[in-house]
Symmetry: C2
Subunit: 304 residues, 2 copies
């Protein structure tokens, strides 16, 4: 049974202090799918692009065993576009423009073949669409969901209806504070878990990630990177690695969630080492495992 992923596919213009690219492959569904594809299959991708979407990107996804039956290609439509510029310290970025294009009228119709998927990863899109996807599923029992400040501020009423149907919510620290209206992340985690998701992951960029389950708080370190080439897609790569590993292992225990958080962190670290999706294009599973070990070693203390 496949892992269903829904989100955006886009063409990105990205500038960092080190380089710039135009028309690079981007979008939440893209990063999630590529990251997940190293752990499991088939990956069912749902999204929409215009007929300007380059064939080479279609090929790239298919070469990673991403099933594209759920990808709508709109004739004479233009693909979603995003342009961003990162500042010197890479923690701050300006969005130069966002063009929704074909995404504006995206109506996610789940193909029959996808409806029996047990695992769904809802990439960062309008929570109205995220709910629409879940409504069409037959008996999904594990939903991972990403969102962002834009929806927390603009569509909180819808988001609050979605959250009880979500098993794992993945957001960053500023989004957690915003959603809970509480600056303390530990208090915020309880407030958010009371909104529905039994598991919450708070991503903290260069400070790692926190996993909150009913009985556990787990602190995952960040990978010590001297050079972050392009932070775009790090959060989506995390979600893809996390969900992909859980789908592969089919073990939803707290202990396995911790491992999944480390695998997600590993995929995010590969993502930011190169521009656009390049860091996720040519990986080998042994390299992912090596990095997983490196993550574990960062916090290991010989207890004597």
């Amino acid at each position: 049974m496949g892992l269903l992923i829904v989100g955006t596919l886009g063409l990105d213009n990205v500038a960092t202090p080190f380089d710039k690219v135009d028309n690079a492959l981007g979008g939440s569904a893209t990063y999630i799918s590529l990251a997940a594809s190293y752990f499991t299959g088939p990956v069912y991708l749902m999204g929409v692009v215009g007929d300007d979407f380059p064939q080479k990107y279609i090929d790239l996804l298919e070469n990673h065993n991403v099933d594209l039956e759920g990808l709508q290609i709109i004739d004479e439509g233009k693909t979603f576009r995003w342009s961003g510029k990162y500042h010197y310290d890479l923690n701050v970025r300006d969005t130069l423009f966002t063009e929704l294009n074909v995404f504006e009228n995206f109506d996610p119709i789940v193909p029959d073949n996808y409806k029996k998927a047990k695992f769904v990863c809802l990439g960062n899109i309008d929570p109205v669409l995220q709910i629409k996807v879940l409504d069409q599923m037959d008996n999904t029992n594990f939903v991972v969901c990403d969102t962002m400040n834009y929806w927390i501020e603009g569509k909180k009423d819808v988001l609050v209806k979605l959250l009880p149907r979500v098993n794992v919510l993945i957001i960053n620290d500023s989004e957690a504070r915003l959603l809970a209206k509480e600056p303390n992340l530990i208090k915020a985690s309880k407030i958010i878990r009371d909104m529905g998701p039994e598991i919450l992951i708070i991503k903290k960029g260069e400070h790692g990630a926190l996993l909150f389950t009913e009985d556990t708080i787990f602190s995952a370190p960040a990978y010590p990177m001297e050079m972050i080439y392009d932070p775009t897609g790090a959060g989506d790569s995390f979600a893809g690695g996390f969900t992909g590993y859980l789908h592969k292992t089919h073990d939803l225990s707290s202990e396995n969630m911790k491992r999944a958080v480390i695998y997600g962190s590993a995929m995010a670290s590969f993502c930011v080492e190169k521009f656009s999706t390049q860091g996720l294009e040519e990986l080998k599973y042994y390299r992912i495992q090596d990095r997983y070990r490196e993550f574990l070693n960062l916090t290991k203390v010989d207890e004597k």
Copy 2:
């Protein structure tokens, strides 16, 4: 042989969103000494106060086996005073006033009895004074040093002369970026270690701490606290717990440094649970060890 600690002793007026206190015991040497006193002894304290310094604070330090031969009490002098106000999220504080008072003319004369100390912890004071202390020591072989943005900005030339004589530098993330003139903390750590200290610890508040040695990067988690009552002294408590544990164990291996970072983090977590030094006044060693275990559990992954 004792552990020599030099720094400020002060009377603090502190306001947080939860409460306020006036004339509370404060100062870097105070927090470092109290925290270290749970691990080792004797603790030699060097500093200066006026004769307005309450006897009850002298008694408190003596009850923790802090040797006060090095404490200068200036007749008709006024003790160093600091007043600060913390904002809603406790990460930002305004200094309302600083009165150096007797500290302005502090001339640290190391008592003969202290000169053979092998371990020195230089609390956050003018690097001119930190050097003056080291100059008087007979054969100190392990120096832990704290500093702050004020000295990095105002006395960098002196600090740069001090750093080659320092074994462990403990600073926070913004200070590390400032000292290295580099936003990336991993790159910054190399630049700073090239300035002299073979070991660097970067404190990141609610995000834990990083330890950099020649062969190791260690990421220590933060203790998940729902209620930070008063952040004052957290960094000093870290330094005291870290140095005290190393002095107790006399093991300067990378592996033991990791444990010391966790013990330092534990002392900082106790410190911020109460106002002023109250969190460090009545601890039991078994509680410190329990918290040490809790820290280790935060990052533990069963590898299967």
